[in-house]
């Protein structure tokens, strides 16, 4: 059991017998193999602390799912708001007795007017039928009306519901337009509502993302703190903070990534299923199609998961790596 009796130590040419100042030399070494080492270390760390890692990862999954779900809800709210705003319209009643050519001219002028997105002519016969339909088609009513009292009109959709007044004022000035109406109170409500919905959507998404962030960072901090003894011993045998951080941050990244993967599957399948069912049973409720919204939402989930996994480990380690 003495040095002499045993095999001589393998010499690797890096750490020799006569040692000078080690500092500078130690920082060399093969980069590639070092990163393989770090990967192996991270994997081993996860294996050793399997139960803790499982608890942490499932917590991260939940946090990411809540944030991702919030993003989907918020995107759909915003989408709904723009759909609603798209339905805001100005009706321009035309003077009686315009010739078809004149009507087309008026239509062209209106279409070119500032703030107008689209404009279509509704002739008086169609307008009456619509009115009857919207009143519930009491068959008796068509009898009651001796003649069609409605004028021809142009229905105008605007680019920005909030600036509908300007658009209406512009249309009013066009020759051949008798009168312009736009349900002021309704439009005001709608504008206020869609603004609120947009705001709420943003706030919900931001709050839930912040919640996920905090939960993930705290969770990883707890797992790191459970391993503080390990960290202390590492520093005692000369591991640099970077060397200690490496595997921990990789573990964090890996946990974040696996959580993002699970979350993606759950949210993806869940949203696709939901969108399908809504399309079938609530066709008038315009959910964003999965392919339009999932890539962005899941992208955020992945970035959040991985970045916070890494950042959380770094933050969790800070306390224990002070010199």
């Amino acid at each position: 059991m003495s040095l002499e009796a045993s095999t001589t130590p393998p010499s690797d040419g890096v750490v020799g017998q006569a040692r000078g100042r080690v500092g500078a030399r130690a920082r060399r070494g093969s980069r590639a193999s070092a990163s393989i080492e770090i990967l192996r270390d991270a994997a081993a760390g996860l294996r050793r602390n399997a139960l803790m890692a499982l608890a942490a990862t499932s917590t991260i999954v939940v946090a990411l799912a809540v944030a991702g779900g919030g993003m989907l809800v918020s995107a759909n709210l915003v989408h709904l708001a723009s759909m609603l705003e798209g339905q805001v319209e100005i009706v321009a009643f035309l003077r009686d007795g315009l010739s078809p050519t004149q009507r087309q001219q008026v239509l062209a002028s209106i279409s070119a007017s500032p703030g107008v997105r689209s404009a279509v002519i509704v002739d008086r016969g169609l307008a009456l039928r619509r009115l009857q339909r919207s009143l519930g088609t009491p068959s008796s009513m068509s009898d009651l009306l001796p003649s069609n009292p409605l004028p021809d009109s142009v229905e105008v959709r605007v680019t920005d519901a909030g600036r509908i007044r300007d658009a209406a004022a512009g249309i009013q000035k066009i020759a051949g337009v008798e009168e312009v109406i736009f349900g002021t109170p309704v439009v005001d409500r709608l504008v206020a509502l869609t603004r609120a919905v947009r705001l709420a959507g943003g706030v919900i998404a931001a709050l839930l993302a912040a919640a996920a962030l905090l939960i993930i960072v705290n969770t990883i901090r707890l797992t790191v703190s459970a391993r503080r003894q390990e960290i202390e011993i590492m520093t005692l045998v000369g591991a640099t903070p970077g060397f200690i951080r490496g595997p921990f941050m990789l573990e964090g990244a890996f946990q974040g990534a696996s959580a993002a993967l699970v979350t993606s599957i759950v949210l993806g399948i869940g949203y696709a299923g939901l969108a399908g069912r809504v399309a079938a049973s609530l066709p008038f409720l315009p959910l964003l199609p999965p392919e339009a919204i999932l890539p962005a939402a899941l992208g955020v989930v992945w970035i959040l998961g991985i970045a916070v996994g890494i950042g959380g480990s770094a933050i969790g380690l800070r306390r224990y790596l002070r010199a």
Partner: protein
């Protein structure tokens, strides 16, 4: 190798662990640090490792003034030391082999060379057949041997051993002392704390005795107890 210039250490709790300690240990020396429980032996070793910092005086190790060592250099400095901690401080969820290898890996040596060297160190202390076990599965003495293997694996120029035979039977303790002697003969400076009078009295090396934080004796070929 080790210079203590009027070193004092008062822990934040108010305990004065060391007072006006002056030491000079030359490269290649083998020194026993003795003294009753709580006399400050472990504190001396902690100061050398810069785990604790002196509240008075200066410490210079191998030309490095520890008071001026920037924090970023501390890990690199510690790699020049091989330390057997009184409470072993083995990583609880790594195998014996990984524990020993870890001290090499932090130094950034060629990964391929690590495991053979770890095996060598475990062979030296007679623990190679337990390489795959976790520390919790070893007896106290076995853990102590592993801690020693980790301390010597990167052939440090300075070895600090805090009570390295406290959990060993006399025969094993004697072998460990022989091992430390042979490491010393190959050029390393060795500083050992011990409560084992037999070992000290047989080996007749330099003995520094502490008492209540003061150096009360420093003899070149000393005994555990002061010769009356």
């Amino acid at each position: 190798m080790i210079h203590f210039h009027g070193v004092g250490k008062r822990y934040p709790s108010g305990v004065v662990a060391l007072q006006d300690v002056r030491l000079q240990i030359e490269p290649g020396e083998f020194v026993f640090l003795v003294g009753p429980t709580g006399s400050g032996k472990s504190t001396v070793l902690k100061l050398i490792q810069r785990i604790e910092r002196p509240t008075m005086g200066r410490i210079i190790i191998d030309g490095t003034d520890l008071g001026r060592l920037p924090p970023a250099e501390v890990p690199h400095f510690r790699r020049r030391l091989g330390v057997v901690f009184q409470e072993f401080k083995l990583l609880p969820d790594r195998t014996v082999a990984e524990n020993v290898a870890f001290a090499l890996r932090v130094t950034g040596v060629d990964p391929l060379g690590i495991m053979p060297r770890a095996r060598w160190a475990l062979e030296v202390v007679g623990m190679v057949d337990r390489a795959a076990d976790l520390p919790a599965k070893l007896s106290g003495g076995e853990q102590q041997k592993v801690a020693l293997a980790r301390a010597i694996v990167n052939r440090p120029p300075l070895v600090l051993a805090d009570e390295p035979t406290g959990n060993l039977d006399p025969a094993a303790a004697w072998e460990i002392m022989q091992l430390l002697s042979s490491i010393n003969m190959r050029g390393a400076t060795v500083l050992v704390t011990t409560h084992n009078p037999t070992l000290v009295d047989i080996l007749r090396r330099r003995v520094i005795a502490l008492q209540a934080g003061r150096v009360v004796r420093d003899e070149p070929r000393g005994l555990y107890n002061a010769a009356i």
